[in-house]
Amino acid sequence: MKSKAEIFKGKKLTRKDLMSVFWRAFLLPACYSMDRMQAPGFAYSIIPVLKKLYPDKRELSKALTRESEVYNTTYAMSPFILGITASMEEEAATNSSFFISTINNIKVALMGPMAGIGDTFFWGTFRVIAAGVGTSLALKGNILGPILFLILYNIPHFLTRYYGLFLGYDLGTKAIDSLSTGNGFQKATNAASVMGLTVIGGMIASMVSINFAYVFKSGKTVLNLQSIVDQICPDLLPLAVTFFIYWLLQKKHVKTSWIMIGCFVFGIIFKYFGIFK
């Protein structure tokens, strides 16, 4: 990545302008609406940039209106798109042959992919890993659980926000080219999915707990079902239950709330008859 001085060489906008976008972007969904979603927050975040680029009030209101069009993506990825938008607005303000409609076209083109990448990384990977570490400590009553959870998640979170903003500004309209030609994003998304799924697999074994309570007795022989299962594959029941629930969700489209109620109902029944523990 280029140094900050190189990025802003020969530009109207300064690092200070972008830093105020950085801070404002934390309020992105603070005025969320059903129709335009995070758009008020997007416009709010880019106000300092637009104010500097368009001293003329009529130009400013035009720019504010186009930045108020429907917008929605993963929060942590927004500074990247804001950076690109800032760069395009600067282009629009200084270069009269620039197509203004490009700005919203690029924004719309980026929203989907950024949400896909962002959700995979932040919801599916960083949060899962942080929660895996955090909950295993917290279950033992260790206060480090929630603290590590927050630290592990927020390091990549804040780094992505900060560097995403400047990277986006530096790339500008070139961002679309680098997104469509390179497969770097796809590769990174795959890597994140793999990491998340590995951790989920581990957590199925360590966090889900269900065992056979049933013991066969015939004459002198006592047969403990769970110890037999443990010899073949430990934690087989948790794995089976997880895949059963996944199948219910994915193939049978059973609602989450019904599965939850089912867990309690069957929990009470199986416990009462001493089948599982």
Partner: protein, 253 residues
């Protein structure tokens, strides 16, 4: 009274984690329930309940346009507070989380959702006038709505609901709590199944089983599994094929 107020404050702050701090995950049950535990001087129960509620609600996330997930912030805070203030079996909280969360979700449609809809419209009009002051003010007003309503709902629920709950829990029989304990062990499976919907495909299935085997057979910790996952992720990033079919860009190099 003070404790109810603090619980409501935690719920309110939890709600603006997403709106003011860019979603630091401070809003997750693991953090919220621990803080509620602190309020009642029982951090340990708060931690354990926090971890259990975290696991069962892990997959319940608002992704995409149809996002209307149950309000786990209020669900986690209130259920933990109710069992701690009535000194009842903490497992009861696990059964309370989702009903409370579903109810809390419903309340948002008569409070901050329509209010912020109006603010958003006003901001759009202000944009047309080039009125940045109004736009900025509306953004902070929207934030205020996101804080004040969950705060008030939690406060009312604590002040009115807690005494009722206290008199009800006396009648909970042992077979019920035993069943809840069994359910508590299984519920994380629901969280993981929901997460799998996000990323699980045939192509990636072996990695899930790898993680499972590392823990089930080799007794690796979660941190260990995360590190193995990171190594594989690095291998994918460094490889030329990237596990993606038909990539032209790399073949040319």
């Amino acid at each position: 009274m003070i404790q109810s107020f603090l619980v409501a404050l935690i719920a309110g702050i939890g709600h603006i984690d997403e709106r003011l701090f860019g979603m630091t995950m401070m809003e997750r049950p693991l953090v919220i329930c621990t803080l509620v535990g602190l309020v009642y001087g029982n951090v340990k129960t708060g931690l354990i309940l926090g971890a259990q509620i975290e696991l069962l609600s892990m997959g319940i996330v608002g992704i995409g346009a149809n996002a209307a997930p149950p309000d786990v912030i209020l669900g986690g805070a209130l259920s933990t507070a109710l069992v701690l203030q009535s000194h009842t079996d903490p497992k009861i909280a696990l059964a309370l989380v989702m009903p409370i969360a579903a109810f809390a979700m419903a309340t948002k449609y008569i409070t901050y959702v329509p209010l912020n809809q109006i603010l958003s419209q006003k901001s759009l009009k202000a944009a047309g006038r080039g009125d940045t002051k109004t736009m900025e003010r509306n953004q902070w007003l929207g934030l205020f709505n996101y804080f004040i309503f969950p705060f008030l709902i939690a406060l009312v629920a604590m002040l009115l609901g807690a005494p009722v709950f206290k008199s009800l829990v006396k009648f909970i029989p042992d077979w019920l709590t035993g069943g809840f304990a069994l359910a508590a062990g299984v519920l994380p499976a629901l969280g993981f199944a929901l997460l799998m919907q996000l990323t699980f495909t045939k192509k990636f299935a072996p990695y899930l089983f790898l993680g499972f085997i590392l823990v089930a057979f080799f007794k690796l910790t979660n941190i260990g599994v995360a590190m193995v996952g990171a190594v594989i992720a690095a291998l994918i990033l460094l490889s030329n094929s990237g596990g993606v079919e038909g990539n032209k860009a790399d073949n040319e190099i």
